[in-house]
């Protein structure tokens, strides 16, 4: 037996030889080592371009984040010409953490878009319209600006509207002219801003500033260290591409954060980041939020220490007048359970949160917390479940988990999320969200809501106060803002950069003669940024003067008398604060990558020319109007000098253009500085201004404005592709992004396959979307589009549209006549109706039901 297992030498040599031959034959194990090219010699191992320089820049206008990055400039092999090639991240930037998105890269290529506007255009054909030849004549920009100034001089101040975000130059200009500033951009997230002002901060707070970002946030979100988040419609497709947020969400996920998402759409964000997903019925998020308040108060899971010290929970309210009681110097009053009397809230060491009414100077008063408890008493999870279709047991559990994880928990909102002006009841949802974040003590705490601090970009008025008071503002505005006293008070008396009324400016232009001249400071939004643009189009013929300062001749240009070319954002210097991750005080700067290649004029210079011509006393240091005494506009120099970061902006940029003060976030410190009320700022849950205009001072349930009737059963949901921002030709006129968009079906309308089966429509068929005439009474414009059937639309009662496509301007050779325009389906609002639903009067852009039918 033993001998049987023994291998003879001959046998071994035979085996080894055979194995060697087999290995040699197959080249194993060195088969892959056989290289056709020496290392580094292969053409694909050569850098495809030659880098010549790297220029620091800050993103602007692509999303909320404003990532800091570097533009890589090199020699393009295709042309041999130096140009911006791509983007590199700056890992030291707290917002971007070294990342950047597809849109930032799109901006690089759009500098060379052949359809960029290089010259000033003047219309010679009085008839306006997208299919009308404007009879453009080319002008030198200087000459065009002078003509525009000459024409503006012929109008009364109240006849002029500047459709422009509240940047330092626009503010100064509109204040000095005494005209209306009502932008169609910032308004789309106006609700958010106003509710923040009314609850979280006093506008303008000591740190509030904005040079480029028009959204006026003071709140950021600490996604990195948060442990629990609830997203009400926060996970739109546009979020899927926001690098400045994505890197933080990823950090949070790795840190074990649980995110509960409520959304009728299941996006890739949901797939990647949702711990739980509920396909909530559109427009009912408020019900869930109210039920969460109900559970947290009923189970006493609120953070008593926080609400005592940093909120108005103990503030006494006159139950009859619904007004908060205050001391002579403006402090809230609270009921002392120890001393059995009302005391200034900051001095009351045992304030009553519940109970009452308490007698205060003959007035029956209750604490805000008690009123909140009463207001939400019937909003049980079971009640909310019937409305929202989110199970009651889950609502209760989510509320308790949210409270248990606090202060490392939060409900974030940005811009036009569900908490923005999506529905007529969304201002209440935004209010409820602020209350929820307050109840659990997540505001002004790491892992929760971060407040801007330690940085300041001065306004022109900070640097150059007017030598005489500004002229009065118009009594009546084209956007009807005077009909909404709560927000108008902020605009008129506290923050002139506050948003106007997105949902009514079109109505005002079309239905009234309040405006005769409109100036669009409109880099790359066009008519698309306005809902129901058909109203603006129809109004164009009766307006005497329309001007557009723009990067492109887009749809709006075809209705304008003058179109003036603007520089690309990478052709401008910048200084930006890190508003969207304000954990650390920080500044980031940008240097122009190149000179504007045509006859462009920057906005600051344009505004200065108009100001010097029409209101020179406000644009000169001594009010003389002497051109040698123009007010200084070196905001960047002043900001970095005041912060002790550098002597001036040039030195700041020379040193790299990025400064971050990485000291730990001081929890609950900043709220006292910028919060509502005095002497110590607090979060205000109870807004008595709402009561003054007939609305509830605390959020209460209200259904959507738009009801589903008959065939109008598809709730309109709107999102954007991750590579598109608004209707910006920088992206839509980019042939690569158009291809990406098409391959992603984002030029179609999306519905659930079951809903499609009921309609009898198949993938790729053309459908017609129409408004309910009860809600779209003027100028309806149905939308034709191809349909995409997808289970990403989690409900059968919804249709998802993608914003930003549907350009019609013929000179946008790539973007024109591609897709559909969502805004055509969203009605401008009658202000009389609007104020019955919403004291902020915002856009409610998704408060629409449409019908869907096959076109053939």
């Amino acid at each position: 037996m033993e001998k049987k297992n023994k291998v003879s030498r001959r046998r071994f040599l035979q085996f080894a030889g055979a194995a060697g031959a087999a290995l040699a034959g197959s080249a194993f194990p060195f088969r892959n080592l056989k290289s056709a090219w020496a290392f580094g010699d292969h053409p694909q191992e050569q850098l495809p371009y030659r880098i010549t320089k790297k220029v620091p820049q800050v993103c602007a206008r692509a999303c909320e984040c404003d990532c800091a990055y570097t533009i890589v400039v090199g020699v393009d092999p295709a042309t041999g010409v130096e140009r911006a090639i791509t983007v590199e991240g700056r890992p030291e930037d707290p917002v971007s953490n070294g990342k950047f998105c597809i849109k930032a890269m799109g901006f690089v290529d759009s500098m060379y878009d052949p359809d960029r506007l290089m010259v000033s255009l003047k219309r010679t054909n009085k008839k306006k319209g997208i299919d009308v030849d404007p009879g453009w004549v080319i002008m030198k920009t200087d000459d065009a600006v002078n003509e525009i100034i000459g024409k503006l001089k012929t109008f009364r101040r109240e006849d002029i509207v500047f459709a422009s975000p509240g940047d330092p130059y626009t503010n100064r200009l509109c204040m000095s002219l005494g005209c209306t500033r009502s932008d169609q951009r910032t308004e789309c997230f106006g609700t958010h801003y106003y509710i923040n002002c009314l609850t979280t901060t006093n506008p303008p707070n000591m740190f509030y500033s904005s040079s480029y970002t028009p959204s006026h946030h003071v709140c950021g979100y600490d996604y990195d260290t948060s442990k629990y988040q609830v997203w009400f419609g926060f996970d739109s497709f546009s979020k899927c591409g926001k690098a400045g947020m994505l890197n933080h969400w990823a950090a949070g996920k790795r840190n074990g954060c649980k995110i509960v998402m409520l959304n009728p759409v299941r996006t890739p964000m949901t797939d990647a980041f949702a711990g739980e997903f509920y396909p909530i019925k559109p427009g009912t998020d408020l019900a869930v939020a109210l039920a969460m308040i109900n559970v947290i108060i009923k189970d006493k899971k609120y953070n008593k220490s926080f609400v005592d010290k940093y909120s108005d929970a103990a503030a006494l309210v006159d139950v009859k007048t619904k007004a908060a009681l205050k001391t002579a110097d403006g402090s809230f009053l609270a009921w002392s359970t120890k001393n059995k009397k009302a005391e200034a809230i900051d001095e009351c060491d045992s304030p009553a949160l519940e109970g009452g009414p308490f007698k205060v100077n003959g007035v029956n008063a209750k604490p805000v917390m008690q009123l909140l408890k009463e207001a939400t008493k019937s909003n049980t999870p079971e009640w909310a479940a019937k409305i929202s279709e989110v199970p009651a047991k889950d609502i209760r559990r989510i509320a308790l988990e949210f409270a248990a994880a606090a202060p490392y928990s939060m409900i974030p909102t940005y811009k036009r999320d569900a908490a923005g002006p999506n529905y007529a009841n969304s201002w209440r949802l935004r209010h409820a969200i602020n209350i929820l974040n307050s109840l659990v003590g997540s505001i002004d705490h790491d892992g929760g809501i971060l407040l801007l601090h330690g940085v300041k970009l001065p306004w022109l008025d900070d640097m150059n106060p007017p030598v005489v008071p500004y002229p009065p503002k118009p009594a009546k505005h084209a956007d009807f803002r005077e009909e909404f006293p709560v927000t108008n008070n902020i605009y008129r008396n506290k923050d002139f950069s506050a948003p106007g009324h997105y949902g009514m400016i079109g109505w005002g232009l079309y239905k009234t003669t309040r405006a005769k001249a409109v100036f669009f400071r409109n880099p790359h939004r066009g008519l698309h940024a306005m809902i129901q643009p058909q109203m603006m189009e129809a109004a164009a013929d009766k307006l005497d003067l329309i001007i557009d300062w723009n990067l492109y001749l887009d749809d709006l240009g075809y209705f304008c008398d003058y179109v003036i070319p603007a520089p690309h954002q990478f052709e401008e210097a910048k200084l930006d604060i890190r508003l969207y991750y304000p954990k650390y005080p920080a500044y980031a700067g940008g240097t122009p990558v190149q000179k504007a290649p045509g006859d462009q004029i920057g906005w600051g210079g344009f505004a200065m020319k108009i100001g010097m011509a029409l209101a020179p006393k406000y644009w000169t240091t001594d009010g003389s109007g002497n051109p040698d005494k123009k007010i200084p506009t070196n905001i960047g120099d002043v900001a970095v000098k005041q912060a002790g970061v550098a002597e001036n902006a040039a030195e700041f940029m020379k040193n790299g253009g990025l400064w971050v003060d990485k000291k730990p976030y001081e929890n609950y410190k900043h709220l006292a500085q910028i919060g509502y009320g005095k002497p110590n700022g607090r979060v205000r849950m109870y807004v008595d201004e709402f009561a003054e205009v007939g609305h509830s001072p605390l959020p209460i349930w209200a259904p959507r404005w738009h009801e589903s009737t008959g065939k109008f059963k598809f709730s309109l949901l709107i999102t954007r592709a991750p590579w598109i921002m608004h209707a910006d030709p920088n992206f839509v006129n980019n042939p690569v992004m158009k291809e990406i968009n098409t391959r992603s079906h984002m030029d179609t309308v999306w519905i659930n396959p079951k809903a499609a089966a009921k309609l009898g429509v198949k993938e790729g068929e053309e459908v017609l979307l129409e408004n309910d005439p009860k809600y779209m009474k003027d100028l309806p414009r149905p939308v034709k589009a191809k349909i995409h059937l997808t289970t990403r639309i989690a409900r059968e009662d919804c249709v998802l549209l993608f914003h930003g496509i549907g350009h019609r301007a013929k000179n946008l050779k790539v973007g024109a006549n591609y897709g559909y325009r969502d805004g055509d389906l969203i009605p401008q609002k009658n202000p009389a109706m609007s104020k019955k639903h919403d004291p902020t009067g915002m856009g409610w852009v998704e408060d629409v039901y449409v019908s869907i039918k096959k076109t053939s």
Binding site: D109, C240, A250, P268, D271, V736, E739, T790, T791
Partner: protein
Amino acid sequence: MKEYAILLDTTYCTGCNSCAYRCIQEFRYHDQAAKGLFRTFVQINDDGLYHKRCMHCIEPDCVANCPVKALTKSESGQVLYDAKKCIGCQTCVRSCKFGIPLFDEITKKIVKCSMCAHRTGQGKLPACVEVCSTGALQFGEYQEIRAKAKDMAVKNNLKIYGMVQNGGTHLFVLAKVDPATFGYPKVPAKDIKKGVSMGDLPAMPMAIAAVAIGGLKKLSERRALVEAEEKDKEPKK
């Protein structure tokens, strides 16, 4: 020479296609991309996100079948393409089981990822990996990435794609469900022994050494046996 691989954790991907656009800018192929010819592209499908990109097979069929050796397997694991050698026969298009090489009808050349060989050779990350906002794309030495993929799959209960398909690849895809359910081609596994990668080389010398040691041992045993036999043959004293 190090051998590299990419790990794609789809549970962190949001389909932003920043990777696609960064790739386009890196290689300056905007015109081709505008026609749908992408080296890498993320398709947002109902059940997941499909990254259509070269898997950089260990045994690439495109390399094996290219009649003019325009496609080669580099020492770093990357499948590289030499457009000057390419005759546009599209053999690679037909032979790739993953359906990756795209043929440009205008240039008569193919479009395919090189895993940024020009960058990785300089110690940089591939452009797509560098730009990825969530870290869904990771890059590293083959053995480390392979081990990481296995480890993450176990820890997070994820499926791996690319470990066995076509004998193994240099791109490992992690997903909650089988990636073949949301766009990845169903590519059969090949005998992994045939598909041993460069990264598996540390195992090879050991195997050769084992054969050698075994052989020497056998030789030694045989010598002892022969000596014993010869002793037996000696006349008894």
